[in-house]
């Protein structure tokens, strides 16, 4: 964001106020807008041009897969599965946390809690990756064994549980990473609930939770959805943490606790790009294009839903 020092026009009775500041600022704003469009178009063109040769790739260049679809599909599946799981974990937690900060906790505690959550967003993803491998995976491993033993009849917990580095662990890491952004957005919209609405509910004899359900949630609905979509975007594109945590085999499965996991697009690119050459590079870029399109669709859907749920007043 750029700011221009605009001179306050000197106001005398006869002189017209100077419009130069207006013109400069309008030009800058227009330029910034145009730059965004150009950057986005540039990325899209790069992905399409560089990804296109992948359509003619042979089996060797496709890392042993027969077709491009068979190569990209498990990655796409892994990406979506990990991100959706992460959001399933993060969204309720974030909404609850935002509610505590905005409506339940005493002001001082709320502020501290808010800072802590914001701080979580500042942790580099490599650190989350390390934490996932070193702490989370070993901690969750006994739980996976228990699940495999007792709930093994469910396809999600079929096992065998041989490692803590499962897609579920990766999803938990992603959830922690998506948590701050969802919380921050929810907190802001919760705080904007008009006081008069809240008082209307309280004066009818609503408890605090009933007040939240009657006024805060309906008012914040579109904001909550936007927050979740942004969190989903973060989870879809996250690279390092997944690349470090996940034990990958390329299997497409709903089994959440085995060592046979699909990788994600972003993690796969990060792990393979260094050793790739020739058409293999194009194949990886093509998978990047798929991720780009998916993220775009997710964002678009999010905005559409948010706009539809817009509440006036």
């Amino acid at each position: 964001m750029s700011t221009t020092p605009t001179r306050t026009p000197t106001r005398t009775a006869s002189a017209q106020p100077s419009r130069r500041g207006d013109a400069v600022f309008a030009g800058l704003a227009r330029g910034a807008g145009l730059l965004i469009v150009l950057a986005l178009a540039g990325v899209a063109i790069f992905l399409i041009v560089e990804g296109a040769p992948a359509l003619g790739a042979n089996e060797e260049q496709l890392y042993g897969k027969e077709s491009l679809t068979l190569y990209v599909w498990p990655l796409l599946y892994g990406t979506l599965l990990a991100a959706l799981l992460a959001i399933l974990i993060a969204a309720p937690l974030a909404i609850g946390l935002a509610l505590v900060i905005s409506h339940y906790a005493p002001r001082r505690i709320a502020r501290t809690l808010g800072y802590l959550v914001d701080l979580l967003a500042a942790v580099p993803s490599v650190v989350f990756g390390l934490w996932g491998i070193q702490v989370l995976a070993p901690t969750l491993f006994p739980a996976y064994q228990w699940l495999a033993d007792h709930l093994g009849f469910l396809p999600f917990f079929e096992g065998p549980a041989t490692t803590g580095r499962t897609i579920f662990t990766a999803a938990v890491v992603l959830a922690v990473m998506a948590l701050p952004i969802i919380t921050a957005i929810c907190r802001e919209v919760f705080l904007q609930t008009p006081r008069t609405h809240e008082e209307a509910a309280l004066a009818l004899g609503a408890t605090r939770w009933e007040m939240v359900r009657m006024t805060v949630f309906p008012y914040a609905r579109s904001g909550i959805i936007s927050g979740i979509m942004l969190g989903l975007g973060r989870a879809l594109g996250e690279t390092m943490a997944v690349a470090m945590v996940l034990s990958v085999s390329g299997a497409v499965t709903v089994n959440l606790i085995s060592s046979q996991n699909p990788s994600t697009i972003a993690a796969n690119i990060a792990l393979n790009f260094g050793n790739a050459s020739g058409t293999k590079v194009n194949v990886l870029i093509f998978s990047g294009l798929v991720l780009f399109v998916v993220s775009f669709i997710v964002n678009f859907l999010g905005r559409w839903v948010a706009a539809r749920g817009q509440v006036k007043g």
Binding site: P106, R107, P194, T196, H197, E198, E199, A200, A201, L202, A203, L204, G205, A206, T207, E210, M214, T215, P218, Y219, V311, K312, G313
Partner: protein, 259 residues
Amino acid sequence: MAKSIDVSDLNIYYGDFLAVQGVNMTIRAQAVTAFIGPSGCGKSTFLRSLNRMHEVIPGARVEGKVVVDGQSLYDPGVDPVAVRRQIGMVFQRPNPFPTMSIYDNVLAGNKLNSKRMKKSEADDIVERSLRGANLWNEVKDRLAKPGMGLSGGQQQRLCIARAIAVEPQILLMDEPCSALDPISTSAIEDLIHELKSDYTIVIVTHNMQQAARVSDDTGFFNLKGAGQPGHLVEFNPTKKMFTNPDNESTEAYISGRFG
């Protein structure tokens, strides 16, 4: 049904700040009691202390007693939520729930009591409340439309309908007409006249003519000076207040010599 309110030695604090000091009064059942006074004199604060709504602000507390029908509202065992279900409130700005239809707005309080209502029962409550608020004829064909689509005066009457739908004992009104035009104001004033046969009504107003028109008793609140707590200067039948008040400053305020 309608109940009287006995207030004795009530002090209201926001944190350490004493906002209203030493109020004593008896508010009669099935009558309209109006509070007048300059801005910041604590009349709204006092009104909100009558159904414990001022507690919504952190740090707010009271000393003294508010007794409704033999029950002290501030006894340790009394739940403010239960108090507010018995003592309804209408606010300065109309505040229907924006996401709800007219129908659901009226029933909002009843649904909080979480007992299952039959459709016919709910329909009855909606019609009775809207008739009670003189709004039925204007909205009966569009009950499913959002409450925000109504005019300001209609919205305020919808809020009154919502408040009386739960059949409270007392209805508190905090400057209910200050955001409305004169025609809507007169509609609300007529309504207050009708409601007083069933409810005890307490109204805060900045409009002295309004106090004179609608109320049976009037309380005048004032400040001793800036930063001083507000207090009740005089509490008398409205007729006496506006013709021959006991206190000099009441007369000065009412005749427009200050405030």
